[in-house]
Amino acid sequence: MSAADPLRDRLREQPLPGEADAAARSWPVVEAALAERAPAPRRSRVTMRVALVLALLSIGLATALSPAGAWIGDRFRDEPATTKPAFAGLPPGGSVLAISGSGAYAIRPDGSSRRLGAFSAAGWSPHGLHVAGVEGRRLVAVDAAGTVKWTLTSRTPVGHPAWSTGLGYAVAYLEGRSLKVVAGNGDPTTNRVLRRDAAPVTPAWRPDSDRVLTYATRAGALATVDVQTGHTLWTAPGAAPRVLAWGPGGRRLVALRSRSVTVLDGSGRTLSTISLPGVARAFALHPSGKRAAIVVGRRVLGLRLADGETRQLFQGGVDGIAWSQDGRRLLLGWGDADQWLLLGPGGRITALHGVSEELGAAGGFPHVAAWCCAR
């Protein structure tokens, strides 16, 4: 027996780590890819050609010879072209929240869209059943169909709403310099000021929490508070952040600053600061918490947080980015081309054309705000 036989056996039979789990995780993704593609036509080319010739002959004869020919001709001329909605290319697994000049919209995976309100900013509730939006001095909660659930009116304009990530018991928002919190059912008696030194940055709830909230202070620091007790859990100094995002399990907090990304642990200790090759314009933390997508100038970069390695994902004037819940796709709003782009595994790009028109061109290009949860 040569050495090749036992080698073959051992290479084929050695149990490998993660093999079964990997198969279980990958099958739904592969199955979804099949569902996304249109099936190939069943009939052979010859059959198709014969059918096409016969159909054309029939139409021609009917139009030329029959008294009803004119009617048939009119039918063909008047039939409206059937087009798929611009958003029909979205994959299954959650709805996208988009904001344009005419308000906020929920885009469903089937491509249908629903206007939620004239919101300038909005955020999903933890399971994607509701949206908290701001409209001037009003904080509004609507369901995914746009039905208003409650409204809270303040004295001055409000902004930066963030629904808590646990059971959805609280909504944080900013009113001027005040960080405020109200119960998720909109009960006005629960509406209160938590802090009076908030910078205009959307606060970030710790994952799966209705209590722990991180916000940016006017002094440029980060502060994490317990909204029930009002106690400050920790503060961290640093230059003013623009975006705050907690990683899964609350193990990491990522703060996007103008030209850098700071990674902190769950207690506010800075782990690393990664310089960016330009001014950051948008940021989306990957669901794994290990990497992020950042718009820097006219480039979209993938950033690995462990070592700061970046790679270019896309070049173009991108306005708004969001990861799918499974982390396999990145949605980009490419305003220059009036398209949304889906960057999939292997760098595959799917374009959704004519998105402004789909939501009413008067509102302008719809900004990708968030992509929420499969239900």
């Binding site: 084929r12 780590p17 093999e19 198969a23 990958s26 593609r37 099936p39 070592d307 292997g346």
Partner: protein, 198 residues
């Protein structure tokens, strides 16, 4: 289909013959499955996935020696296959086409990692973030010894002994002279044979 439990996809790589090269009857069945997938059949795709996943994952793992990367590579290969299935010529065997994608991608990933390790080593003193936990090493000596070969050597071994390619087919798949394939196989066998005989 979607309701299947994950356990339904537990591969049984150690079953005799599972990784053996497709026989003629099996080839006919494979052609039927590919045709049905081209028509949009999820059941046919599921069957094809069950048949090919174990070898795709194994081939990727044995080249990259990392479970997460192997999963990505095998999954990307399946996604690429699904997306281009309409253009697939059914007269050609599906498995080798898939393995070629897997192994070439695995070589690319391994090379890129090697390059990154050089950069990381240079920047190690300034790095503050802890690196990701490495995959735990396998207890099997042959697999560990395989990891000590270059990615190109590993790919040749995997295509020969896991995917059952002939040296000529390996040469075409990896775009290298047949003599190089033979010499790499010989060297790999010498090295791995020492481990087996221990």
């Amino acid at each position: 289909m979607s309701g299947d439990s994950p356990a339904a996809f537990v591969p049984a790589a150690s079953r005799p013959g599972l990784l053996a090269r497709a026989e003629p009857a099996s080839r006919r069945q494979e052609r039927r499955l590919v045709r049905d997938v081209q028509r949009g059949s999820a059941a046919a795709l599921e069957e094809l996935f069950r048949r090919e996943w174990p070898r795709a994952y194994r081939a990727a793992y044995l080249v990259v020696h990392d479970a997460a990367a192997a999963e990505d590579i095998a999954q990307e290969a399946f996604l690429a296959a699904v997306r281009s299935i309409d253009r697939f010529d059914r007269r050609r065997p599906f498995g080798p086409w898939m393995h070629r994608i897997v192994v070439n991608r695995a070589i690319d990933v391994t090379r890129a990692r090697a390059l990154r390790r050089e950069v990381d080593a240079a920047a190690a003193n300034s790095a503050e973030a802890p690196p990701d936990q490495p995959s735990s090493p396998l207890p099997d000596d042959v697999v560990t010894a395989l990891g000590e070969l270059s990615p190109e050597h590993r790919a040749v071994v995997v295509l020969r002994f896991v995917c059952d390619y002939t040296p000529g087919e390996i040469a075409r798949a990896l775009d290298m002279p047949r003599g190089t394939v033979n010499s790499r196989l010989r060297r790999a066998l010498d090295r791995l044979g020492e481990v087996i005989e221990r």
